[in-house]
Symmetry: C2
Subunit: 225 residues, 2 copies
């Protein structure tokens, strides 16, 4: 049985959802050579702006798809924007990312701030994925997924992981393996549900009392994504 | 706030998940003219059999797609089998039905018993759908969905229903309406999650205490379906 207090033993971060480690591939605001000249961010761009130190590639990826310069991008534009830095994610994964990273008070879509946070999170996850894809096949199996999620701070029960990974079983009889797209989808489901649970268990006791209404409200957005 | 005790005021059934009312369209074991000759059911057919009184159409629909006479059908076969009595459901709805009606101890698929139960449940839901589709448009809106779910025994909070129905918003700006396929998907999500919750709240207090592991285990199968 996983307990909340024993959640994150391998990570350097204080909580399961905090960024676990700097990513060698992805831009980071702590890297001084990525600091931006003033015109890269500021209130001149739409209603929102990029955080200081955002990598020019991130801003370029966003601006390339935000053709009407509204400062917000929708799911199709997000899919295009991420293609330039990562790969073409499935629309299912994109919807989940939209749901988890979108600011609830901005119904228009993903803004610069959220896009920068998402890009950086994906960078960290890419680094973890590559660390556990030891044979460089571009895929990880269920044991490696368990270890990868663990290093991201999520101790997922093996039985749950089994159900989760069965989603990607193509019924060929071969062992199920996940590419980066599926890894992100799996991981974001775990991350999102864990964060919802933590809201109801602020002291990390490992259990939470939920009303029927709260239970439905927590889950249904994930089914809709 | 919905409470469990006040769940099912319009229904004749003792609990939210019990069949709410006999369906005028669908076959029912209480209708004597549907009783089967002995060769319709029995151990001669696969490893399982149809319950006594199963309508011949139901058995025919099953046998038509179970070409290898294994006594089990997979999701594509289920989609075909249901087409003959209802309509062609989306694969998303079919997967949800498989997950909710499959016997967990039969990994092979849906057997005759489960198929008969599913057919009968869909018959009841069809009758409810038609009752609330007052203008016979083949679609119901969010208010009618609320009333329809209520009459099936589910008092879903309006805010949750709003999120659920947003899944079917085609962003045309028109009011969201659900066809029978989407109604079944919505309803089965609510039915499935409610049953999971009830397992943790056997006295219907309206709230349940869940461990993190139990919480994930309850939800992830719905995401996988």
């Amino acid at each position: 049985m996983a307990s909340f207090s024993g959640y994150n033993p391998q990570s350097h971060s204080p909580s399961p959802s905090a960024p676990p480690m700097p990513n060698p591939q992805a831009p980071s605001s702590s890297q001084p050579h990525y600091s931006q000249p003033p015109h890269w961010h500021g209130s001149s761009y739409g209603h929102s702006s990029f955080p200081p130190g955002t990598h020019p590639d991130v801003i370029r990826s966003f601006q390339m798809v935000d053709r009407d310069r509204s400062g917000y991008i929708d799911e199709i534009e997000l899919q295009q924007a991420l293609s330039s830095g990562y790969q073409r994610f499935s629309l299912r994964t994109i919807r989940l990312l939209m749901f988890l990273f979108k600011n609830p008070s901005s119904p228009l879509g993903i803004g610069p701030n959220e896009f920068a946070a998402l890009w950086s999170c994906l960078g960290q996850w890419r680094a973890i994925f590559e660390r556990f894809d030891r044979d460089r096949s571009g895929k990880i199996d269920s044991m490696e997924l368990k270890d990868a999620l663990y290093s991201l701070g999520y101790a997922v029960p093996p039985s749950v992981l089994q159900v989760l990974i069965s989603k990607y079983d193509d019924r060929s009889g071969r062992r199920v393996e996940l590419n980066f797209d599926s890894f992100v989808e799996c991981g974001m489901i775990v991350k999102g549900l864990t964060e919802k649970f933590k809201e109801k268990d602020p002291r990390y006791t490992g259990s939470a009392t939920l009303t029927y209404d709260a239970f439905l409200s927590m889950i249904i957005p994930f089914l809709v994504a």
